[in-house]
Structure formats: C-alpha cells, structure tokens
Symmetry: C2
Subunit: 480 residues, 2 copies
C-alpha cells in the first residue's frame, strides 16, 4: 500500500487515545439512556446526541494515521474496539488490519463479513496478502487468489510456502530493477516515468537479462554521480543479500549491524526474487525481544492486554501446571525431612531464605545468559570460561551473604552450628543456581528450543528443591 503522509499535530498519541476513550464513554452513556427510555418522547434528542458523538469520533479517526488508529484499537477493550472499528472508513480497513497485532487482528476479522474482507484485501500486495491469508476464511482466500494475475498468485504462494521465521515470509516484491549497461541519465528518466517509487527505496537492483542480481545502485550514488556514467561503473557489485530460507532474525541482525534500509533476496541461482526492508526488520526485533520477556515468565505471546479471561487462562495454564509439579516435588523434598523439622522447628523458618536467594540469583544468571545467547555471544569456545565466572560470582555471594544470614541465624536461635549450616547451604545453593543458570538455556538451545522458554520457572524449581535438600540435609547430618 502507498505510504501515507503523516500529519504532525502537537497532541501526543496518549492524548488522542484519551479523547477517543472519552468519546466512546459518552457514546455508551447515551446508548444506555436510549435503551432504557425506548419509545419515550426524549428519543429524538438522545438520537441526535448519539449521532453528533459518532460524527465527532469519525472525524477524529479520519485525521489519524492508520498506525495510530491501530494503536488505539489495540489499547481498547473488545466492545469499544468493535464500536470504533465500525466507524473506520472501509477503504482504510486493509491498511489498519496490516498494522494491528495478531490477536487484535483476529478480533477485528471475526467482526467482518466476507464482503468487507474482500474489499479490504483487494488492494493489498502479494506479501501483505500472504501475511493475512492464514487468518482469513477459506472461501475469502480462494476468491482473492482467483482475482490475482499469474505473477501475483505465484508470489502469494511462494510467500506462503515459507515458515514465518524465514526471510521468504517477510520479503516484499516491490523492487525497482535496472540494467548495468545503461547510463545514469537513462535510469533517472526511467524513474520519472514510474510516477511513484515503493517505500524504503534506498537502492535500485541491477539485474541481467535472466534476472540474476549483478549489484545494487544506491540512490545516493545515482544522485551525486555524473549522469553520463554507466550503471556498471557506479553500482556496488557485491552487496549484502539474503536467501529466502535464511533465518529472518539473522537478517534483522544484519540490518542492524550494517545499517541497511533495504536488501535484495536472491534464490540459489542468484536470481533476484524479492527484497527485505528495515520496517519489517524493526517489527521483528521488537517481537523477538517481547517474546523473550514473555517466554521467561512462561507466557505465550498471543495474549493481548484485553484478552478475555478464558484466553488468559489458556495462555498461562501450561506453565502454572508445570510449576505446580515442581512445587510439589519441592514439597516432597521437605517431606523427607519432616522428622528433622519436628526436632528443630527453626529449620522451617530458615529454609525459604536459602531457596529464595538461590532462585533470585539463578534468575539473574539465566537472564544474562539468555540475553547473550540472543546476541550470539555464547559459543562452545567460551562456555567453560563463562561457567567459571558465574561460579566465582556465586561462591563470593554465597560466602558473603550466606555469612551475613548465618550471623543473623545465630542471633535469632543462639546456635553457632545452625549459623554455619546456613552459610554452607546458601553457598552450595548459589553454586547450584549458577550451574543451572548456564546449563538450562544451553541445553534448551541444543535441543532446538528457545533458550528463554520458561527459564524462570525451571531455575526456580531447581533452586527450591535443591535449596531445601541441601539445607535440610546438612542440618540433619550436622545438627541432629
């Protein structure tokens, strides 16, 4: 879709959201009144207010960039969201659907009939259609495909054939291609005939007659060089390019590293088949880091903040259930030592300190490692060094803070040996936390899983059961 010009106003987005929310609330009050007084004489007045409100809301919406409307839709609970969605002009539906998050999009599509969906999708590019296809009803997709020409249909099919984490699923097809044996003057004239250039065109793609990529001509060079020069003299002949089956996140990191704005995608024969642009990459970087945060807490990413209670439950149940099992295991570890606790009840009060500090420290380690792995900084060459460092940090923390808490235990319960056991247990549990904080994400990665996956739940399980076992075990041996 064409790039929309953004009108800069002095209001922030937050302000605009507040205004829309206020209008929606007024709207709801009016609706309530109308409903209650149905058939009464005041009907016409209410209806008038009602309509004025709607007109004002619609005007507000028309002034906003599609991305801003998308933002507001995301920030509204379902009923308000759908009220607003009804007010959006039909010709903007497509743009806005492409901007909203997956879960919000699902709720909007569920509210549209086939006819509306077809209208919204009819001006979309092949890559945009492919993005949307999985969420549209089967017959709508079928009808859309029928309406496309051969090339477009091929492109949609090709984009759909890639996994959403592959470059092929994120590329678009809006490349401007030129030949290397023409002058810059010819290129400039050719561009002028195009009337409009695709968004994010910072370079033109130079291809031969078979469509094989020969190089790229950065617009910057086109502008500063003598128009009589040939493209071949000025182009960059060995540009960064990607393959459609490459990992999209690796491509995003390359964009970030080399400050790219667009880059060609070529097949295994070097033929140009599409391009990647920075806007898709930014979205990907954002999504990746979000899902990292969510995964660590054992959440999947589909839950938006106004998801229904039922959806939230489904999102959170899996890890809660796992947590229940690990908590049960920790409880049985304590159960093993019930005899010891009956003899020395202070153990019951002190044991959560050992487990808690271990959990916190393990979470710090695992967060560091997961982050370093996301940045590709962990390799087999440096694992043992990393491990030594984490163990050293844990040892010092254990002796120092374990020592402090040992002294406190002595002061509370008047037993030096209890204090020493406390210090020893803390130190050992922190060492366990460090070990597991490094091993868990690395093992997950080796198994081909996301290293952040429920990392927090797993490390806490280890340090809880481990901490109880170490502390109660030491106490049973040395104190009783």
């Amino acid at each position: 879709m064409s790039e929309v010009e953004v009108k800069k106003t002095q209001e922030s987005l937050q302000d605009r959201l507040a205004q829309v929310v206020e209008l929606l609330q007024r709207q709801r009050v009016v609706e309530d009144l109308t409903h209650r007084q149905e058939g009464a004489n005041s009907d016409r007045v209410e209806n008038l207010v009602h309509r004025q409100n709607l007109v004002e809301l619609q005007r507000k919406l028309d002034d906003l960039h599609s991305a801003d409307v998308a933002y507001i839709l995301e920030a509204l609970p379902l009923d308000d969201r759908l009220t607003l969605w009804q007010l959006v002009k039909a010709d903007r539906d497509g743009d806005i659907l492409l901007e909203v998050s997956d879960s919000v999009r699902e709720s909007l599509i569920a509210d549209m009939d086939d006819h509306e969906l077809l209208a919204a999708a009819k001006d979309m590019d092949a890559d945009e259609l492919a993005d949307l296809a999985s969420e549209l009803p089967r017959d709508v997709v079928h009808e859309l495909m029928e309406s496309l020409d051969q090339q477009q249909r091929e492109r949609v099919r090709s984009a759909l054939s890639y996994d959403e984490e592959q470059v092929g699923a994120l590329m678009d097809f809006e490349m401007v291609t030129i030949r290397e044996d023409v002058s810059l003057e010819v290129v400039l004239r050719y561009l002028r005939r195009l009337k409009e250039l695709p968004g994010h065109t910072d370079k033109l793609f130079v291809v031969d007659y078979d469509g094989v990529l020969k190089g790229v001509l950065p617009i910057k060079r086109l502008l500063v060089n003598d128009p009589d020069k040939q493209v071949a003299e000025v182009m960059a002949s060995d540009p960064v390019s990607f393959h459609p089956d490459e990992d999209a996140y690796d491509a995003a990191q390359a964009f970030e590293r080399y400050d790219l704005i667009s880059a060609p995608v070529v097949d295994k024969n070097g033929k140009l088949i599409g391009r990647l642009t920075i806007d898709e990459m930014v979205d990907l970087i954002r999504e990746e880091s979000e899902s990292e945060v969510l995964n660590m807490a054992g959440l999947r990413e589909e839950e938006d903040i106004f998801a229904s209670v039922w959806k939230s439950l489904r999102n959170r149940w899996a890890w809660l259930a796992i947590n229940l099992i690990t908590a049960f295991v920790a409880s049985r570890v304590i159960g093993l030592f019930e005899g010891s606790i009956e003899k020395l009840v202070a153990l019951a009060a002190l044991m959560p300190i050992v487990a808690g500090i271990g959990g916190n420290s393990g979470n710090q380690t695992i967060t560091m490692i997961v982050r370093a792995m996301a940045l590709d900084q962990v390799s087999t060459g440096n694992t043992s060094r990393l491990m030594r460092k984490e163990l050293a940090v844990a040892l010092i923390n254990g002796l120092v803070w374990g020592g402090v808490i040992g002294v406190v235990a002595y002061m509370l319960y008047g037993s030096w040996s209890l204090g020493v056991v406390m210090t020893a247990a803390m130190t050992l549990n922190l060492l366990l936390a460090a070990l597991m904080g490094v091993l868990i994400p690395m093992t997950l990665a080796k198994m081909g899983r996301d290293p952040a996956m429920g990392a927090s739940v797993m490390i806490t399980a280890m340090t809880d059961s481990g901490g109880f076992f170490i502390f109660l075990g030491l106490a049973t041996i040395f104190l009783l």
Copy 2:
C-alpha cells in the same frame, strides 16, 4: 563517518568468530612456548610462527566490516579482546569504538593512550564525539574541543547538554538543506556538487533564510517529478518532526509506527537544528527491551557477558541484598507460626507450594503489565478493568489448581480440613499476586521509576511473605 561497503561472504558471523578464536588460541600456545624457552635456540622458530599467526589474524580483521569487528571484540574475554584490539589498524579505531557496547568500549579506551585516542576521534562528527566524550580522559576531550571549529564545538556542547534519553542526545547534524523557491533541476545539480550524501538521506530538509523548517522533500518525489517543478510544489509541508528535549523512546516509537528513515529535529522556534535516523532508533529499541529484561531480574545493564567477577558482583549485589531482606521477612513470618508447625509438621512441607505458585503467577501478571505499559497501552481509563480481569484469572486458577493441590494434600496427610485450608490459601495468595502484579509496576511508574525495576524480586517478596502468612494463619485458626 562514511558508510563502509559491506562485503558479503558465504561465512556466517559465527564462523568468523570461531576462526578468530582459533587463531587467538594458537597465538596463546605459541606465546606460552616462547615464554618458557626464553633464551633457548628454538626461539627464532617460535617467533616466526608467532609472526605468521599475527599476520593471518590481521588479514582476517582487515576483511571485516567495523560492525563485525565490534561484534567479535564483544564476544571475547578481556585478554583476547585486547590482543585483537592491538591488531586493528589505527584508522579504524574510531569506527569500531562507536560500534561496541558501552562496557566493552570502556575496556578498549582504558587500553589506549591519549595519542591513540586523539587519532581515533579526530575524524568523528560532532554527535559521535558527544557520544564518546563522557568516557574519554578530560585532557583528551579538551584537546579535541580545541581542534574543532566554532560550529562543531557548539554542536558537541549542545549534544552534551541533553540527557541521554532525550532526542537532542541522539540527533546528528548531517542534514542536506535546500530552499523552497528553486526547481528540482537546481536541487539535482546541487546534490551532484556535494559528491557524497550523508547516510540515511531519504529526504532533504527545506528551510527558509532564517533556517526555519518549511517542509521536507522526499528523495522519492525528487526522482519521479518533473525537474522543472519548484521544490515548494513537491515537498511535504507538514512532516513529522521532533524537539530536542522530547523523550527519545517516544521518537523511536514514532519511527516504528510511521516507518520513518530520517526526521528533522527543530527548536521551539521551528528552526532546523539536527535530524534523527532509523539506525539510532533501532539501537534504542533494542536497548530498551534489553534493559526491560535485565531490570525485571534486578540487573543493571552495564554488565557484559565477560565482565570481571568483581563487576558482576557490583551489578548484582543491590537486588540480592534487597532479596535477602525480603527473604528474612518471609522467614520471620514463618517464625511467628513456629508453634503451629511444631504441632503439625505437614505445614512446613506444604507452605512452599502456596508461596511458589503465587510467585510464578504474580510474575506472569507483572510481565504482562510491564510490557503493556512499555507499549503505552495502560491508561487510567482502563486500570480497573485490567485489575478485574487479572483478579478473575487468579480466582479461577486458585480454585482449580488450589483444588487439585488440596486433594493431593488430603491424599498425603489424610486430612480433609488440611486440603480445604490449602485450597483457600492458594486462592487468596493468587489474588494477592494479581493485585500486586498490577499495583507494583503502576506505583513505580507513578513515582517516575522504571516499572520493570526489580519487579520480579518485589512480587516474589509479596507472594512469599503473603503466602506463608495466609497459609499458616488459616491453618492455625482452623486446624489447631
């Protein structure tokens, strides 16, 4: 600094890192040998191997993009990092210093003398100098400032006057400005005379004789429009622009939302004073989400993966100490009920289940809320609705999972009343977790703090102490 052309090779970055690591290891082995056999006859042979190795490493480095060298430096432990840094050609020092992360940069600068630093910084732009200034020795900064012309010095001073989270600290000064009353043909000729355009030039800035921004001319429009047209006819007259004292993260979100590549920065009189570019914004988005992850675990962001043990300790101590206090409080809560535990030791084994599930569930809630707040989706208008939803999820989870664990407790200890107390305590603690998971980040935000700050430690503190108190309290009342 000028944009370097990136050579695409078939090796991945990981491969290149592995190669450098291997060369460094070989290097170390040779050095060890040379050291041990000092004065012996084999000296010359070792020295030869030594030198060959260095030459090979240096050739590898010369082939790499500055960003790739920066990546490799970041992935190496300190001693290897400095060995490599010595091999980097002096004229690339500046570029690479600008690419590496803060903590790695610090370690590299500490290894350079004033002379080297001056050489590295002499070709930098004002905004780049400002980025580096705080980390350079005082006299180096002084000498650098002396060497600048009036305008550059002013720019460095101005960039330094802003907080690092403000737009003013991130803008650069490489704008190409034009007048509105000339033809596109004149603009094209003017650009050709410039010989080179700054990176990320997707638009030219149209200013009047006082330097006030009148609009922007997207390069795309310059290329497709008739050269006889005037700039004023073709330019966008109401572009998205920023003020230097605006929050940089808001600007980054605007870049993301409106798919911008560059945007003007104007002072309060509308005068053009700089520009923002997407590369800086991408770095910011990346840093923001990283610091969110780290903050939740109670880590500051300065620790790189090979930071010294001492640095890691400093990074982690603050929150560990806080955690120690909260764990001590939880322990004292249990201490209150030692009498109950002595009478019914099963309580000691069951209480960590209540606390643990509460902590996990609270972490899920707080992660959702922190994320929604980062995306500006939480407003005063929807707080109570959010709270109701989280409480509903907690109530259902509490009844269902609490019920399961209640049955398990009955089967283990043969007491129905113990099972019921367990279910009730779980439900109440999950409600507490939901309440605190919403309130903690909101309160932090109201106090002007980062809502993610140590969120995980705080929620766990609440659910631990709260869980123990609720469970042991209910047990004391109903079971003893």
